[in-house]
């Protein structure tokens, strides 16, 4: 990272620490904000957060690795999370999954080359009565069919 970028990032994190308070209980809100903006939490950011909260970088790394929605490697602009738990599974998630994979040209767990989409499976997202369901960033889509899912992705492209 360039020095200028690093300084900018340090400033951002200092603002976040000011906003949430300098204590360990601010860690996850800070990480969520960084994740929302950059789609991941850069190495340097992790160390700065650790320094400003007076904890160790490995502790920040450990917390990030624990939660599914936080990651240390960049993900795509749209993170597509398709529910794989039994109710959605029974209502046709497998076909929807195949359709999405075909459409984007990647498998679940991967990111498209243009960094637009990341495909992931998620566990029960609480839409069991209207499955198959998927969450893309903060929006939830229900009653999916292969056609409908592909249409949604195309609109986002």
């Amino acid at each position: 990272m360039l020095v200028l970028e690093k300084n900018a990032m340090t400033e951002e994190i200092e603002l976040l620490v000011k906003k949430y308070g300098k204590s360990r209980s601010s860690l996850i809100p800070i990480l969520q904000d960084v994740q929302r903006k950059y789609k991941y939490i850069p190495d340097f950011a992790q160390q700065e957060i650790a320094r400003l909260l007076d904890i160790h970088p490995v502790e920040v790394f450990s917390v990030i690795s624990f939660y599914s929605f936080l990651n240390t490697t960049p993900k795509g602009k749209y993170i597509v999370r398709l529910c794989q738990t039994i109710s959605c599974d029974m209502q046709g998630k497998a076909l929807v999954a195949k359709a999405i994979e075909r459409e984007l040209g990647i498998k679940f767990g991967e990111t498209t080359k243009d960094n637009k989409f990341t495909l992931e499976f998620a566990n029960c997202v609480g839409m069991c009565d209207q499955g198959p369901a998927m969450i893309i960033n903060e929006r939830v889509y229900t009653h999916l069919t292969p056609e409908k899912a592909v249409q949604i992705l195309n609109e986002l492209k």
Binding site: Y20, S23, E59
Partner: protein
């Protein structure tokens, strides 16, 4: 996003650590009502203070409960589930290491459910543990092995792994990580983050993918590991071990062209008996000399000699700094920090690089010896230093890193070739078929024959300070140390309290000063009426407290001299010492060291005739002079805290 609330924080801002105990504090006065609780364990009644854990209560009752993740030095984890017991009225089994007793309960430690649970837990651990016991360095000393034996595991009910799952990380000079053997007891995590405040290891990922890793999964050499090896001492299996050079040392011993010399430090000598079945606290100094010669070492030297030298050099340095500060009114880095603990040196290089000037430039005794052996000794003995292989037996895993530091080549060669730990030396002795306790006693070799007791006590926390004070008192006050401290034992500096502080008023009378340092400064009157303030810290968590206090301008910023040891207990608790380590064992090792010190005739560094001789013969310009700076002093590296 709505009202942004400032998040809560607990007390001081230091973050709660991963396994912070949420148990109940015991009442200060157990005779008050409710202070003691009567419990029934296996139908035997017992009265214990409120808040005692079931494990502690069972210990009092003489009932043994198996444990794996529990460790006396560390906070409670309760993750292995081996110590589970039945508590009447509760459906689930309870972890005895974590359950505080607050009411009269009935406990059963050996019911069918409990026995089945223990067996299952062990079988589950074995199903993921890449156990190659025959070729493992913990064969015979592994806690998982002992538990499996104790609970009669005779089959791999849930399968077994035949291939290691993780690659071994042997990037570091000191610590090797083999995660295929890890049982996720989290002792290393609690040690590194909680006990040492270094923070290298933590659990990464979730569920069955959980493993212990470093920041960004980097190799150990690339993260801020200070090599203190405390994690090795507490690991129950061989997931963590030290980097063992004994094969290379054997090769050197077997090579007739090589002159292999070894220096032994006081802490290994106090603890090596534990590796041969003796309890803790039996010093094996003289027996070890014989054993080492029989293995094939050409010369056996006493590191305490250079410990004495360190006191002279560092004491002189302190006097010079004080002179500059108090008389010349120059800007000088005070307080002065000791620099003989390589773990501590790396700690300050990473976390407080702006205070590197406070570190004494004197090398550690090991490295001073390395330089002297390949110059002074080589010359005297008429041996080509290129053929000398210099080995150091240390309680320390960080010494392996230290001897490989690029600047440690002042003799023209690598000053110390190998750092060998107590455990590794015990292994070599056994390989040679020698039973150490049976060895006859013999002395060290000349020219570095005898050392004083002051050099010896370096091994215990407070020892360096005590050795320094014994000398400083005589240098500066002109009185005998025994006149101020009974028997020259400076008791306030002893013991295992995290941070110790002491003030020594100097008074009106100063001198006469020994010949060795007479020409150091024009006069000594400036010390009249001053008070020398010193402090001692062991364990890097306490070092951090003192450093943060100094940064904030607190009490310790007014100290003149501070001793820092990276390992809890001082060197006697070092990362290369016999496993296991407990507060009790460290106490016994300290006792062995202090009693060996009392048994010696010479107890102050400046009274050691060999030390005086080396200044007359070799380091003729005196302590802290140009020559001694070249060989016996070093410089440090600002490493900083950024890893990526």
């Amino acid at each position: 996003m709505g009202t942004e609330e400032i998040m809560e924080s607990k007390g001081d801002l230091r973050a709660p650590i991963s396994q912070v105990p949420h148990t109940i504090e015991k009442p200060k006065d157990t005779s008050a009502i409710g202070g003691m609780v009567t419990v029934e364990i296996n139908e035997k009644k017992l009265s214990v203070p409120l808040g005692t854990t079931i494990l502690e209560a069972c210990k009092l009752a003489g009932i043994s409960i198996p444990t794996l993740c529990h460790h006396e030095d560390l906070c409670v984890a309760g993750v292995c589930r081996i110590c589970v017991v039945e508590v009447e009225g509760m459906r689930t089994l309870q972890a005895s290491c974590a359950f505080p007793i607050t009411a009269p309960i009935k406990i059963r430690t050996s019911t069918p459910m409990v026995r089945k649970a223990r067996k299952h837990v062990l079988e589950l651990l074995l199903s993921e543990h890449y156990g190659e016991c025959y070729s493992c360095f913990r064969n015979g000393k592994c806690e998982l092995q002992s538990l499996a034996k104790e609970y009669g595991i005779d089959q791999y009910t849930f399968g077994h792994v035949n291939e290691p799952k993780y690659e071994i990380d042997n990037s570091s000079y000191s610590v090797i990580r083999d995660m295929s053997k890890c049982v996720l007891c989290k002792r290393c995590v609690r040690t590194c983050i909680d006990l040492q405040e270094v923070g290298v290891l933590e659990a990464i990922d979730r569920g069955d993918k959980t493993h212990i890793g470093t920041f960004l999964e980097k190799p150990l050499a690339d993260v801020i590991c200070i090599n203190c090896g405390q994690c090795i001492n507490r690991c129950p299996t061989a997931a963590l071990r030290a980097n063992d050079p004994s094969d290379e040392i054997w090769a050197a011993i077997d090579d007739p062209t090589k002159h292999v010399v070894i220096q032994t430090a006081p802490s290994p000598r106090a603890a090596i008996g534990e590796e041969f079945g003796l309890g803790a606290g039996h010093s094996m100094t003289r027996e070890l000399n014989t054993a080492l010669r029989r293995i094939g070492f050409d010369k056996v030297f006493d590191t305490n000699f250079t410990a004495d030298l360190t006191i002279i050099e560092e004491g002189t340095e302190l006097i010079l700094r004080l002179y500059k500060a108090l008389v010349l009114k120059e800007q000088v880095a005070l307080p002065q920090f000791t620099s003989c603990s390589p773990g501590w040196v790396k700690f300050i290089e990473h976390y407080y690089p702006e205070y590197l000037d406070n570190l004494s430039t004197a090398k550690s005794p090991q490295q001073m010896f390395g330089a002297l052996i390949k110059t002074f000794y080589a010359e005297k003995a008429g041996i080509d230093p290129a053929n000398i292989v210099s080995v150091a037996v240390m309680p320390c895993s960080a010494k392996k890193f230290e001897c490989n530091r690029p600047e440690m080549r002042d003799s023209g060669y690598k000053d110390v070739d190998y750092g060998l730990t107590t455990r590794e030396l015990a292994k070599m002795i056994k390989e040679a078929g020698i039973n150490l306790p049976e060895m006859p006693k013999s002395n060290f070799d000349s020219p570095f024959g005898e050392a004083s007791g002051a050099g010896l006590i370096f091994g215990a926390t407070g020892g360096v300070m005590e050795a320094a004070i014994r000398t400083v008192v005589e240098f500066v006050l002109g009185k005998k140390t025994e006149d101020i401290f009974e028997n020259a034992n400076i008791i306030p500096l002893r013991g295992f309290e995290g941070i110790k502080y002491m003030e020594i008023p100097i008074g009106d009378k100063v001198g006469p000063v020994p010949k060795l340092i007479q020409t150091l400064v024009p006069n000594w009157d400036w010390l009249k009426g001053a008070t020398l303030k010193v402090a001692v810290a062991h364990g890097t968590a306490n070092a951090k407290k003192i450093m943060d206090d100094i940064k904030a301008g607190g009490k310790f910023s007014e100290c003149h001299f501070i001793e820092f040891m990276a390992c809890p207990g001082g060197c006697l608790g070092g990362g290369g010492q016999p496993i296991p380590t407990t507060p009790e064992i460290r106490k016994l090792r300290a006792q062995a060291i202090y009693s060996e010190d009392e048994s010696l005739e010479i107890r102050k560094s400046h009274e050691n005739p060999h030390v005086v001789k080396i200044y007359e013969e070799f380091l003729t310009e005196g302590p802290c002079s140009h020559l001694s700076h070249k060989l016996l002093h070093t410089h440090y590296v600002k490493r900083g805290r950024y890893i990526a």
